[in-house]
């Protein structure tokens, strides 16, 4: 069993030598082959998106070999007999061909669609992980912005992709896209006439979306994803707090061989799940929808999941429309379309992009952060995040209000009324509840650190009192809990004469100081005041205490 390598085998040494003499890669590899990658389940979420993207490129290329991006009118004579003799676009006919006349074509089409859903889903949960752990903080703000761009582009990539087959469902989505685009003030008609090559639907949109979908957007995505990876590599991954983990180190497994193998296996898992879904879970059966005609639509038309929040916003909007000038010439503002099309997306994407900078402005925290926060330890951030998720979630649910009404036998109109109410109330409620939960969890942490964990043993004291015995927490748990840091805060204290520090005197400065005081500080300190022996005392002070630091 002593078959261990003593020297690099010739088959590897030869080519390596050839390459190094020309590229000089050994210096890079010396530093990077054993690069350390920290471990945590939540660090795997972004990888789902990365691997889905690779699968999208591969399956997508396969589809282009047969797909015809043309709206030329053809009479179908392929092997799907229910549509024989029906007039349709070449795009739809070639999608049917991929589905029924190419072996493995249906599998690749379904894999492509499932991978697209998983791509956006993976990005979304990865983004939430980065947000809630504060992993976007200095020095990673730029990578965060690249991430926001990636998410936005992924939505555009999805929209241009599912419009291509030119079936009745994708056409409905395209029609809504047109209705939204034309509603924009002043430029709306220009945008639609330029996009569709004239009046809707025209004969160009499939070819144009095809160019965007297979070349322009994936090209930008690829470039940005590469930049995202390079920055992650250079800045090194964040790590969760724990034993021997500090802001100056990274603890984990080396790239070669462990992380490499794990990442490879994880890619294969993603591929297997997508292949399994494509095998057993039908998606987008375009042959059942029929070719597109603007005269028809099927009830229960739903977009892919990541467009659901826009759909929901359109559905719950009251019918507001303004004629600015009151004339018959210009000035129509269809608010019932413009607001839902722009506002939720604008709030979410702009909010995401600006958050790291707003937080830095409020906390005045200009330090580098490499240890991720546990979400509970920055309660306002976590509450803002959950509040935004609730906002998104309400819109998303309402995007399927007809399904909700049908399946739960409630009035369709009432789902809309409820949506109009919940879109304002639910995020506020979510904020309050999350904030309280974060403080509660922090109190529990403080209790674990200062009193230990409950042992389940009840002891009777000589004078008759019963107490529960507590035992100290395990090392690594304690290290994990003690990894907490107070949220940074600006020096807001007034001096002896009652004058606030410089930069906090104007109205904006005062607002900043007030926000900093609320956002920053230690809400529930890990109390180290007394040793825990066998006492079961009340835990936590009960009051929020903000400590300046």
């Amino acid at each position: 069993m002593t078959t261990e390598l003593k020297t690099v085998p010739k088959a590897i040494a030869g080519p390596s030598n050839f390459l190094d003499e020309r590229l000089g890669g050994a210096n890079f590899l010396k530093r990077n082959l054993r690069k350390i990658f920290p471990d945590h389940w939540s660090f795997l979420l972004g990888e789902i998106a990365l691997y889905s993207f690779i699968i999208l490129l591969l399956t997508g290329t396969f589809l282009t070999f047969w797909f015809k991006p043309s709206m030329e009118h053809v009479i179908y004579d392929g092997s799907y007999s229910p549509l024989t003799g029906v007039g349709m676009s070449a795009a739809y006919a070639s999608t049917l061909e991929i589905s029924f006349d190419v072996r493995g074509g249906l599998l690749m089409r379904q894999m492509h669609h499932w991978a697209a859903l998983l791509f956006v889903a993976g990005m979304t949960v990865h983004m939430l992980r980065v947000f809630f752990t504060g992993a976007y903080r200095k020095p990673r703000e730029l990578n965060w912005i690249i991430g926001v761009l990636l998410l936005t582009l992924a939505l555009a990539e999805g929209l241009t992709g599912y419009s291509l087959p030119d079936d009745l469902l994708s056409g409905a989505g395209l029609r809504i896209t047109e209705g939204v685009a034309i509603s924009l003030p002043i430029v709306g008609t220009f945008i639609t006439f330029f996009l569709f090559g004239g009046e809707y639907p025209g004969e160009d949109i499939v070819a144009r979306f095809y160019a965007l979908h297979i070349l322009l957007i994936p090209g930008i995505l690829l470039a940005l994803i590469s930049a995202h990876m390079v920055l992650m590599w250079v800045q090194k991954h964040t790590q969760m707090p724990g034993k021997s983990r500090t802001n100056q180190n990274v603890v984990g497994a080396p790239f070669y061989p462990a992380f490499m193998a794990k990442a490879g296996a994880y890619f294969l898992f993603t591929l297997a799940v997508i292949a399994g879904l494509a095998t057993f879970a039908q998606i987008n059966p375009i042959w059942l929808f029929g070719p597109y005609t603007p005269a028809d639509v099927s009830a229960g038309s739903q977009p892919d999941w990541y467009m659901g929040f826009l759909e929901g916003a359109l559905r719950i909007m009251p019918p507001w429309e303004i004629n600015l000038f009151g004339t018959a010439h210009a000035g129509t503002l269809p608010l019932s379309v413009i607001i839902p099309a722009l506002v939720p997306m604008g709030i979410i994407m702009t909010g995401l992009a600006l958050y790291p900078f707003l937080e830095r402005w409020v906390t005045g925290d200009n330090r580098e952060h490499h240890v991720a926060d546990r979400p509970r330890n920055n309660p306002h951030r976590t509450s803002i995040g959950i509040s935004a998720m609730t906002f998104y979630g309400v819109l998303w649910l309402l995007g399927a209000n007809d399904e909700i009404a049908a399946n739960f036998h409630v009035s369709l109109n009432w789902t809309t009324y409820a949506g109009r109410f919940l879109i304002f109330v639910a995020p506020a409620l979510a904020y309050l509840i999350t904030y309280r939960m974060c403080l509660g969890l922090q109190r529990q942490d403080a209790a674990v650190v200062s009193h230990g964990v409950e042992s389940g043993v009840i002891k009777r004291l000589p004078h008759g009192e019963f107490i529960e015995v507590h035992t100290p927490p395990a090392d690594d748990i304690e290290a994990h809990v003690r990894g907490k840091e107070p949220v940074a805060m600006l020096p807001v204290a007034e001096d002896a004469a009652g004058i606030p520090p410089k930069g906090m005197r104007g109205p904006l400065g005062k607002l900043r100081a007030r926000m900093s005081k609320a956002y920053g500080g230690e809400k529930i300190p890990l109390d180290e005041g007394h040793e825990h022996e066998e006492e079961h005392a009340a835990i936590g002070g009960g009051d929020d205490r903000s400590l300046t630091h």
Binding site: D101, D402, V457, D476
Partner: protein
């Protein structure tokens, strides 16, 4: 988690370490325990127990063999199962997909067991360095920048700088200008409204007569006398434009037969024929076909965003995000009794847009004059 009774039983240890649902001291609630690296040769690298590793190797080998077999099965399925009908395609998809899934899953599971049970456990530490460059380096870069800027003459030579900026401005517009012909009609922006506000219902057929209303799908003209059961509904397209998607995107109609007493004030009576009313089927919200009709309530419902219109009352909006009623098309019958259009809609159909203005008011004023 129930294997701790014996600990509690020990009489002297009345301070047991554990209770059901709580971890024993020393075990970790989060992640695996950092194994002691006493027997490891390199700190932070803990080798696996050789017996366990040997057992794991066999499982990994089994996984890889499964992948081998499943890949072969994939190739066989590709050759054996032909496509062509929905059933055959379904079988082929199932065979190809399941063999592919199993093949990849085998490889994935094998590698994971390899990493977790054969490769060592790692807890290596690497130092981080601040991202910012060292101050002297920054100074060198700043000096180099200044030197280069001065050498280039860009700062000193105003004429050069200004003409370069001058040159850049129109050149930057070139790509934008190139996009102008994206609109194939090349019409001026001012004409968009003109095009949008008209539908083919204003045109005449080859014989110079108004267009007949024909049934969508079959292309049959509709004799008013045959469309006579109240509550019935038809999806209608213009004669001669049955397959013209651009025309259909604006001209598709929903045709409803009412009892005369059901019609309310919102309906323009002289635009109906014998209780038959024609509305644009294109929703005024974002343009979906408002395809659903509820006979009892006379509600037209758009399935996309649930805008609801009262067909008995001029298709006025009673629910949902649409802000305007579905426009009514003036119809009548020709000498053979077929339904025809009297002319075009008096307002633009479909979704609202900036240039449309208050077309309804303009139409009302015009109607008043006539």
């Amino acid at each position: 988690m129930t294997d701790n009774e014996h600990e509690i039983e020990q009489p002297d240890e009345r301070v047991p370490k554990r209770v059901i649902g709580t971890p024993a001291p020393g075990t970790s609630m989060l992640g695996t325990v950092e194994a002691s690296d006493t027997d490891a040769e390199v700190p932070g690298v803990t080798l696996q127990d050789e017996d366990k590793a040997r057992k794991a190797e066999k499982i990994v080998a089994l996984c890889f063999t499964i992948t081998f077999l499943a890949s072969l099965a994939f190739i066989v399925s590709y050759v054996y199962f032909q496509v062509g009908s929905p059933e055959a395609t379904g079988t082929s998809n199932l065979a190809l997909g399941s063999t592919l899934t199993i093949a990849i899953l085998g490889l994935a599971v094998g590698i994971v067991i390899w990493v977790r049970q054969i490769m060592p456990k790692y807890s290596l530490i690497q130092e981080r360095h601040e991202m910012a460059s060292a101050e002297p380096d920054r100074e060198v870069v700043a000096d180099t920048f200044i030197q280069g800027a001065n050498e280039s003459g860009f700062v000193k030579r105003k004429l050069l700088r200004r003409t370069l900026l001058l040159a850049a401005a129109p050149l930057g517009l070139v790509p934008l200008v190139l996009l102008r012909d994206l609109d194939n009609s090349k019409m001026s922006g001012g004409r968009f409204n003109e095009v949008l506000r008209h539908t083919v219902w204003g045109e005449k057929n080859k014989e110079g007569k108004p267009l007949k209303l024909v049934v969508e799908g079959t292309g049959q003209p509709i004799r008013a006398a045959d469309f006579n059961s109240p509550g019935s509904i038809l999806s209608v397209v213009p004669e001669g434009f049955e397959h013209d998607l651009n025309a259909l995107a604006k001209a598709t109609l929903i045709l409803i037969k009412f009892r005369p007493e059901e019609l309310k004030a919102g309906v323009r009576q002289n635009w109906t024929h014998d209780g038959i009313v024609a509305y644009s089927k294109i929703c005024t919200h974002v343009g979906c076909p408002a395809a659903l009709y509820e006979q009892n309530t006379h509600h037209i419902l758009c399935p996309c965003h649930q805008s609801t219109f009262d067909a008995a009352d001029g298709a006025k909006v009673i629910f949902g995000p649409a802000a305007r009623p579905l426009p009514q098309l003036p119809i009548t019958v020709d000498e053979q009794g077929y339904l025809i259009a009297q002319g075009d809609f008096d307002v633009p159909v479909g979704p609202s847009y900036w240039e449309r203005g208050d077309a309804e008011r303009a139409a009302r004023e015009q109607g008043g004059q006539a």
